[in-house]
Each structure stands twice: as structure tokens, then as C-alpha cells.
Amino acid sequence: MMTPGMVLGAAFGYLLLLFTIAWYGDRRAAQGRSVIDNATLYALSWGVYCTAWTYFGSVGRAASGGMWFLPIYLGPMLAMLLAWMVVRKMVRIARTYRITSIADFIASRYGKSPLLAALVTLITVVGIVPYIALQLKAVSAGYQVLTGPSAAPVTAWWKDGTLYVALALAAFAVAFGTRHLDLAERHEGMVAAIAFESAVKLVAFIAVGAFVTWGLFDGMDDIWARTEAIPELRTLLRLDQSAASFDYAQWFALTILSMLSVLLLPRQFQVMVVECVNERHIRRAAWLFPLYLLLINIFVLPIAFGGLLHFGPGQENPETFILSLPLASGAHWLALFAYIGGFSAVTGMLIVETVAVSTMVCNDFVMPSLLRLGRFGSREGGDLTRLLLNIRRTAILAVLMLGYFYFRVAGEAYALVSIGLISFAAVAQFAPALLGGMYWRGGTRAGAYGGLIGGFAVWAYTLMLPSVAKSGWIPAGFIDDGPFGLTLLAPERLFGLAQLDYLTHSLFWSLLANVSLYVGLSLARSPSAREASQALLFVDVFRRGGTEPVFWRGRARLDDLRALAGRFLGPVRAQALFDEHAREVGVPVPDLVADARLVDRVERQIAGAVGTASARVMIESVAQEEPLSIDDVLEILDEASQLRGYARALEEATGELRAANEQLKSLDHLKDDFMSSVTHELRTPLTSIRALSELMLDDPEMEAAQRQEFLGIIVSESERLSRLVNQVLDLAKIESGHAEWHNADVDLRALVTDAVRATSELFREGDVSVALDLPEAVPLLRADPDRLTQVMLNLLSNAAKFVPRAGGRVAVTLRDEGESLAVSVRDNGPGVPLAEQATVFEKFRQGGDALTRPPGTGLGLPISRQIVDHFGGTMWLESEPGKGACFAFRLPLRPDGKAGGNDNGHESADR
């Protein structure tokens, strides 16, 4: 056993650490360097799902039900893996409309209804306060396990450590949960602390698990084997606990329930939606969070069975095995660490839950009543920001104290033990209204009311009331016999449905009532304009790119809006809001027009502070609004989509213009490059010709041999010039489509043979062997034989230039491919470097380096390619550097369309 001082000291030391982390997180946020802008920390903060109910309760459930602790975690895992898009949509909607709680979300969707917000808040408080009490109980129970039963049950409330824990947590929540007035702003310090707590509880749980599995036993196999050996425990290893077969319905119900609760619990909404820094983190968190759940559940069964084996069944409370096992084995420090782990599970839940619930209580219970009072009415009164913050702080304290009170009154009652699932079932009632509202435009406010009230009523009757009765607070007779002896209405066997366990039974009837009423009432009456417009904004939140329609018509005075904003946002933020709007519109603040867009903007900002429903009421009070009809909504939507259409068309047109401009520029650039290259190629031979001529002219006495050499150079450079001029003109003609084509039936085999013969002198000079591989005969081809010969000569002379000085080999092949004929000229030269392969067919790209390069214009290949293209064929290069090059072309036998050229006698003879 440990001394109370030690346990209390550790607990408060831990709280101090939390304060430090949160303080650091907030300080970093103020400096603009967020610590929580990180998918892993975001996922860890989701771990607030695992409360004391997980930390202690899972082991308890496993000790009595084996695998039955699992669905509570399977649900969230499935939910995140399958439905992360739902979370993303929730985040996007909440961000866009500055929604800060689940009550706000539902109320806003159904036309910003204050009454609906109040209803959701009511259900939440009723469902969640006992859950908060449960957490406080865990603190106190754990404390008793650690310090031993000697500590007499505390009777005087002021001596109860749990109260001080609750007060400390209230202080934390006030300090880090109500920093900003605008709730849509994140509480970075709080989230950082929560992520830290998730890490602590995970490490603590795994540490105890490892200690039990490998310290007290010989691994998991050992635990299973020993459990199997004890008849009372053997059944725990099987899924089907009772004599009856496996209860699929209950397993399914639990999974669905926890799937919904991970989306709908107020604290999950807070960490997942309100505190989301970056939508992109959701994808990563959607698999990290299931991984977290998996890790924290690995050791549940070993600890449960280990405890049962160690103490014997029924000897110790399984819920505190995680503390009592290390303690009984003398591992006091581990027990203390395990307690801190459980403490972190409790505090994390309490902090986030109270911040979330107090937001609802403040915005949806207190504010609407206050605003109705004259003093807070819209037109008079000063800055309300301080008052707002104080209301929220009071709400936090009140929620926690309510939980504490419940714990004191019902600490040992059945109502508290089973409250985890009962709370889950309560928030599950939000599912139809919330999920339906996000994906179904047809859902209406009446439907939401009906569904929520119906579902909640059935929940209260079939789940809450029996749990109260089982605690002995009201006579329990009605559970079995039904009220007034009407067994048909027995709360756990409604209408004789007795096959299901009480939870599945309740979930079945409550959700059935909920969904039927929601859908039925929604279909029964068409929605009002406001409901319809909000439905459009929610369901299509991803469809609008920046230009969203504003469903508001009316008149407002700028001064009224400014005064209103000032009162709810404080003068500084209000001024910033109007400044920003003025900057976007492009007029100074005093000249702003209070149009729909500005009104909408102010309303959203106020919504961040007091909730959408109250913000709506406030705006209504300062503006003269025109009631919208459904037609108006459609008209506004139409205008918005037209605007979007115009914007898109304009964007497309701009894009096309830009592309055209780029193309022109690049064409211009190409032409420029071509001219520059031609100039260079022309000037080079001219330079030699001019220089040498001048030199001879200046020196009539020049030796004959010298003169002869110079004249020789001049002649060859002149030839080079004329060759170049001819080829440039040739290329220009082909490219512009003015070339002459003298088509005839060509025997490509004969043409190739002739070309090789014509270049044989070239090859003989270089001692190059030429191998011909030709079929016996090939079909005739309609083309210009002179042009094709030009192509062949170009390829052959290129090959001759690039083969090695000794042992040069060139292979020429011709293939009949049925539809086409293919010719290739392969050499064993150095090949074409990879970098140049793409440009080898461009103009003035000569291969090799200038020193060894044989004379050429750099136009041969481009011209050849143009010729082959003209006849509908293709020319390409295959080359591996170092292994020679193979230039090849393929000509179709029956070119389609025009590719044959002007074949019809139009050709003249001037070639």
C-alpha cells in the first residue's frame, strides 16, 4: 500500500505538468508556431475517446465477458477507416460556418433554430453528466485501491480529494478552454495537453500489460493455457458466452453504437472538428487513431485473465486489476504509474468534455435567455465579451460540479456502472439528424425535432429509467410487468421483443423511432426557405469554390452592424473584421455598404462566439430582413451558380489566351533560333571565302602553291554554301507544303540497292563493310523515288561518317510488314548519347564533336524525317550509347488520305 500523500502528490504533480504543457502550447500558438499542427498529435488527441471507462472498465468487462469488451473499439476503428470522409465534411462545414459544438451543428443545419440547439444540449447534459460522474468515481476508486481499505470512506465532502481534483480540472478548463472569445479558434495548449495525456495512458497501460504478461506469467500462451485449465474461466476464451449461440445482434449493436459515438460524443466533436488545425491531418489520423485503439487493447485480456488467475475469480474487483496486480506483486512504482495513466484518462476526458458541454450550455441555454432580457437587447449595452467569457467559465464549473454531485449521490449505484453505454446510446440519437443533415437535403427541422424527441424519449424509457429503477430509487416492478401491469410496454421488452439484451433492445427501438420520425416528418412537409438554404450550404459544402451564395435579403445599417460586432467580438476584433472586409471590397470602412455579404460575415463571426442560433437572433434584431421564400432561395442559388459559371468561363478564356500567347512566343523563339543558326552556318564558309580572297588580292606575289591551296578551300566552302542554301530552301518548301512531289510506283528493294551502290565509294574509302538484308521482293509503293533516295543517301552517309576508322560495319535491312515496309540502317559507331537522342531530328543538331565531325549541314535528318512524314510514315532512332546507332523508317503501303502528295499531274519539272 502507498501513503495517501504520495498518491495525491503524484496526481497533483501530474496536473502541474499538464498546466505547464498547456501553457507552453498556448505560448507557441501565440508566437504562430503551432505545436499541434501535426497529424500524429492530432490523432493522439482523438485518444480522448479512451476514458477511465476504457482504462479500468475494459479489463472489468473482459474479466466477465471475454472478448465482449472489443466492439466498443472495433466500432471507432471501423468508423475512422470507413468514414473519415464524414469527419472531413464535418470539419469543412464547421470551419466554414464557425460552428463550435454539436448542438450548434444540428441547430444551424435546420435553419439556425435556437430551440433545436437547446434540445440537443439538454440531451447531451442528461446523457453526459453521469459519464462525468463515472470518471470522478474512477479517480476515487483508484485512490482507495492504492492507499488501501484502511482509509475510511470519506464522508465530509470538504475532505474528499476527488472534489479537489474536480476543482483543479475546472481551473485547467477555465484557464486553457476559455482563452479566446471566439470558440472557433483553437485551444492549442489544451489540445497539446490532451495529446500528452493520450500518450501517458497508452504507455502506462502497455507497461502494466507487459509486466503482467511477462513478469507475472510466461507470456500470453501461458495465460491462455492456465485460463483454459480452470473450468470457471474457460468460457471466457470463447465468443459464445452463454449456452445460446453467439449473440450477433448484440455484437453488431455495440459496434454500431460505438461507431456513432466516436463521431457524436461532445469531446470527440471538440478534438476532431473544432480543434482541427489542418483538414489534411484527418487522413493520417484516420489510421493512426485505430492503431492507437489497437495498441491500448492488446493487453486487456492478459490483464483480465492474469488478475483472475492471480487473485482467483471473484476475489478482487476486476476493474482495478491494473492497479491491484502490480501492487500485489510489490511493484509499487508501476502501480503508481498505472494510477497516473488512469488519472490521465480521467482528466483528459473531463477537460475536453466540460469545455465542449459548457460551450453548449452557455450558447444554447444561457445566452438565448439572456438575450431575451432587455438589458442585453441588441441596441443598447456595451461590450459583452467579458460577460460571455465569465458565463462560459461558470458553465465549466457548473458542469463539473454537477458531475461531482451525481457521483456523490449515486456513486455506488447501478446507474453509474452502466452509464458508459447509456451515454453512448444517448448521443447516438443525434446520428439521424446530424448525418442525415450532412447528406440529405430533404431533412427538415420538424423531422429533426421529431427524431430527437422520439429517440430520446424511447432511450429514457427503455434505458435510463430501468437503470434508475435498478439502483433502487424507484420501484423496479414496472421493468418486468410494465407500467400499470401492461406487459406490452415493459421497458426492456417493448411490444414483446424479448430476444434482445436490454442495450440492443433500447438502441433498436430508439433509433427506429428516431429515424422513422426524422424521415417521415421531413417528407411530410416541405422545408422553409431558411431550412432549405442551410441544407444546401451543408450538403454541398465541397461543391462551392470560394463563391458561396448568401441567403439573405434585407437592409441593415453599417453602424448597427459595427456596434453589434463590437459588443460580441470586442472592439479590436470587430475593427479588424470590418477592415478586412473593406480591403476585400476595395472601399474604406465608412463607405462600406451593409449588403448581404457583410451581414453574413458579421453573423458568422458572432456565431463563433455565441453560437449560430443566437447570432441569427442578434442579426435579426438589428436588420430589417425580408422573409425569404423557397423561390428566393433558388434564385439566389441560381445567381451564385451563374456567377460561378462566368468566373469559370473567364478563367478558361484567360487560360486559352495565355496558352496561345505562350505558343506564339515559343514559335517566335524557334524562328529566332532557326534564323540565328542559319546565319551562323552561312557566315562560317563566307568568312573563309572572304578572308582568303582578300589575302590573295592583297598579295599578288603569293606563291602558286599557297594560292592553289586557298583557291581549293574557296571552292569547297562555296560548295558548302550552295549545299546549305539548297537544303534550307528544300526544308522550307517541305515545311510550308510547297515542295514538289513526283510520285511513282516505287520498288523500295531496288531503290535501297541503288542507294547502297551509289554510296559504295564512300564506304570503300573508309574500309567499311556493308551488309544487305533484303527480302526477295516487296510490294510496290506509291511515293517520290528521288525523295526516298535522298533519305537513303542521307542515312547511309551518316552511317559512313560515324563508323569507326577500322572495322566499320553497316547493316541495311528491308522488311515487308504486310501493311508497311520498314528500312533500317545500323552502324557500329559510338551511338547517340541519351541526352541527344531526343533532339537528333532537330535542325542544325550535328552529331559528334566538331574536330572529328565530317562536313554536314545539320539539316539532313530533319529533311529526311519530313519526307518520311509526308508519305505517312515514321522515322526513328534506336541507339544505346557505345553500341552503335540504328536509324529506321517505316512507310505504309496504302497511305490514308492526302499523304500521297499531289499525285495528280499537278507537278512541274523544275527540280
Binding site: 540565328s676 551562323h680 563566307l686 568568312t687 589575302l695 598579295d699
Partner: protein, 121 residues
């Protein structure tokens, strides 16, 4: 011993004419066929002047010019850049790289000779 002049050009026939001219002017002529050979020769032989073709494969005349100006050993070498591209941007580029003068091809042999004489005066 005459003044050393290096001719750097990848066109053999232009080299023929330039070297004839330079010899006629009484200079000792060195010849390089590409940029890197030219730079190596400048460092080894330290010619007083280089007739440098701008467009050589591999290391261009501009590159050589910059390398020379960056090398304290040969920084003072006079450089006359020759180019077959006559665009303004090419002239600017040559002078930017640190050439002392710039002549476009084809050139007048008399002008070139006079220019070289001036630069070596």
C-alpha cells in the same frame, strides 16, 4: 622572338586564313581546335592575344573568356572574340564575359589586322 598569338577556332579553313594573316603580320602563331585546348594553351604558352571563336563545341569561347579572367596567372591576356552570330545579345554576352573586343564573321582582313595591331600596341 615574335609576339605570341593564339588562334582558337573549330573551323579548319578559318584557322588557315587567320594563321596566314597573323604570320604575315609577324606574330608567332599558336592554334587550338576547341575551348578546353585553348584554355590549356593560354595557361601553358601565355600568348599576348587570343583570337577566340565564340561558338565552339564543349567549352565555348564565352566560357574560355570567363575562365581566363578568373585566373590571376593569365588575366591580362588580350581577347578578341570572333563570332558568326551577329545579334546584339551575343555581342553583349561576349563583352560581359570579359572580351576586349568583338568582331563578327565574315570580317575584313585589313580591319582585323589593324585591330590586332592596336590591341598589342
Amino acid at each position: 622572338m615574335g609576339t605570341k598569338v593564339l588562334i582558337a577556332d573549330d573551323e579548319p579553313n578559318i584557322v588557315v586564313s587567320l594563321s596566314f594573316m597573323m604570320k604575315r603580320e609577324g606574330y608567332e602563331v599558336l592554334i587550338a581546335r576547341d575551348g578546353s585546348e585553348a584554355l590549356a594553351m593560354i595557361r601553358a604558352e601565355k600568348p599576348r592575344l587570343v583570337l577566340l571563336d565564340a561558338m565552339m563545341p564543349g567549352m565555348t569561347g564565352f566560357d574560355v573568356c570567363e575562365a581566363v579572367r578568373a585566373d590571376p596567372e593569365v588575366r591580362e591576356t588580350r581577347i578578341l572574340m570572333l563570332t558568326a552570330k551577329g545579334r546584339e545579345s551575343d555581342v553583349a554576352r561576349g563583352l560581359g564575359a570579359g572580351a576586349d573586343a568583338y568582331i563578327t564573321k565574315p570580317f575584313s582582313t585589313r580591319d582585323l589586322a589593324a585591330r590586332v595591331r592596336d590591341m598589342l600596341a
